[in-house]
Amino acid sequence: MSRELSLGQAVNEALQIAMETDPDVILMGEDVAGGGDRTGDDVDEMGGVLGTTRGLVKAFPDRVLDTPISEMGILGAAVGAAITGMRPVVELMFMDFIGTCLDPLLNQAAKFRYMFGGKVRVPLTVRTVTGAGMQAAAQHSQSLYWLTAGIPGLKTVIPSNPIDAKGLLLAAIRDDNPVVFCEAKMVLGSIAEVPAGDYEIPIGEAALVREGGDVSLIGMGATVPMCRSAAEQLARDGIQADVLDLRSIQPLDEEAILATLEKTGSVVVVDEATPRSSVASDIAALCVDRGFDFLNTPVKRISAPHCPVPFSRPLEQAYIPSIDRIVETVRGLA
């Protein structure tokens, strides 16, 4: 049985199922319950800045913990709890805030297993919101998954739709490694028929969501629906596109990327993040390194420009990769 859920609601459902099936799962973060004392008649829970965790504190009163605004302390405590028997799901409200708590992820969670000779597991999940599109401006709109993806010991995933969001989050929570789960702003509200019940999507597997032989559009998170729309437009001109939804940035499904390259010889990567040291660049290098003889056109990377996210609406819209840019780029390959 499926019902129409938004990505945010699908996340909520995954958290619910995770907490029902494992008493060690706890949620920690700023306002995850939302609002301190919730016992008054005229107060109710927020369930997070975007409402994603609504309802959970009522269902699991001792396991949804509102924290002070202390990212370093919160993330560090979550790591400490993770290595002493808990399975914490900690919320980093906006990925931009990673600047205040990078150490617990970078130097502690990511490295414990390795530094301690394989003798410890860190079953930590960090849920965080990424990306532009809400005019949240420069310090609340970044896509920094390339940063965590580049840290050995961490996994980084980013669903593009509600169905994958639920399955990936359950997989992330149950994974005994630290996993960063990115909720892209522009797809948080997207709706899909989400199956009820407990299911997982494997981490490290991309999904080929559309098949065509002329060009490969590779996207992640919010850029996947853009790629699909671009593919539809191109189809009217007789250009058929493969659309590959990465779903997982680290581990990266290199085989899926190379398979679509082999099929079409033309790869366009659409990445919401900025261009330097980006996932798009990583993929382009992979194509040239391991798929050289399949390349029929240059690998194109569509990304944000190398600048902070602007506030003004038309500027922000120009910042974000667009369907038109994708279509134009593909046309320019011929």
Binding site: S70, G76, V79, A81, M86, P104, N107, R113, Y114, V120
Partner: protein, 325 residues
């Protein structure tokens, strides 16, 4: 004094082990036998042992870059530690962690840590676990005066206070934060007063006096374990060695150091107290000294003869990969 003989002998053995271990290490690094950064706990033994005497495997400890003393005090295998410092496959961490990352999570030792202050939130998290799981355990964070200036310190103590976590925060005020004397960077004489900003209980102990540490730590740990809330315990101590092995120590007065070393060494002070009280003979302590020396020499030898890790180990243990049952 009310402490029993067995406990005292055990405490001495631990302190002597720490002293001998650190001195051996200093020797091995200075002669070029071992590489990497080593930070020695010499002079601070009474703090680690005084606190950890109240803990068992169900209690957690988070440590610092100067973590060998806490490891030994918490009961971590000395031979395994030695092999780890030699970077051998038989090391506690398979040679992949080194001095600043020695851990034995099963014994509740959450690791030495290369990042100043990083252990504080970790210990806070462990205390959260203990509380949620109702294990009755406490979590002790060891950290220095320098770390008490880290944001992580304030954030962690704040959270522990509001959630009434069973945590004891032991600040080892050894007079220096790396190469800077404490008074240059901490505006208050007693770091313990910082607890007040969190409404938290605090205690101050003479870190060179095992008995004072033991008494104050006992009080703090009991308080935390009872669920009354966290405690900040400041132990005033002195770092006999430099910040790291090879530190030229130009930034501190040799005279000042000599005075501490000659008059405030915790081991002779302990010996004087217990022999004067007639609880332990000096000979017994000498015997322990010999045993410890032999044990460490054997550990060093075994470590030196142990194989280095296989090159294939370079990329293992990055992720946990076994299938979940």
């Amino acid at each position: 004094m009310e402490l029993d003989r067995e406990l005292l002998i055990g405490a001495y053995r631990k302190m002597r082990t720490i002293r001998a271990f650190e001195e051996k290490l200093g020797e091995l690094v200075t002669t070029g036998k071992l590489g990497g950064f080593m930070h020695l706990y010499v002079g601070e033994e009474a703090v680690a042992v005084g606190v950890c005497s109240h803990l068992d495997d169900g209690d957690a400890v988070a440590s610092t870059h100067r973590g060998h003393g806490h490891c030994i005090a918490k009961g971590v295998d000395v031979a395994g530690m030695m092999a780890e410092l030699f970077g051998r496959a038989t090391g506690l961490c398979k040679g992949k962690g080194g001095s600043m990352h020695i851990a034995d999570v099963e014994k509740g030792m959450l690791g030495a840590n290369g990042i100043v202050g990083a252990g504080i939130p970790l210990a806070t998290g462990a205390a959260l676990s203990a509380k949620l799981k109702r294990t009755g355990g406490v979590s002790v964070a060891f950290f220095g005066d320098g770390a008490s200036n880290q944001g992580a310190f304030h954030e962690s103590l704040n959270m522990a206070a509001i959630w009434k976590l069973p945590a004891v925060y032991v600040v080892e005020n050894n007079g220096f934060g790396e190469f800077t004397p404490t008074e240059f960077v901490v505006p208050v004489k007693d770091i313990a007063v910082r607890a007040a900003s969190f409404g938290m209980k605090s205690l101050i102990a003479d870190g060179m006096d095992f008995f004072d540490v033991y008494a104050k730590a006992g009080e703090a740990i009991a308080f935390a374990r009872s669920g009354e809330g966290p405690v900040l315990l400041e132990c005033k101590t002195y770092r006999f060695a430099g910040h790291f092995v090879g530190d030229p120590l130009v930034y501190r007065s040799k005279q000042e150091a000599e005075e501490w070393i000659q008059t405030r060494d915790p081991l002779p002070l302990f010996e004087a107290r217990v022999t004067e009280a007639g609880l332990v003979e000096a000979d017994e302590l000498r015997e322990i000294d010999r045993e410890v020396a032999l044990k460490l020499a054997a550990a060093a030898q075994a470590a030196d003869e142990a194989p280095f890790p296989d090159l294939a180990e370079l990329t293992t243990d990055v992720y946990f990969e076994e299938p979940r049952s």
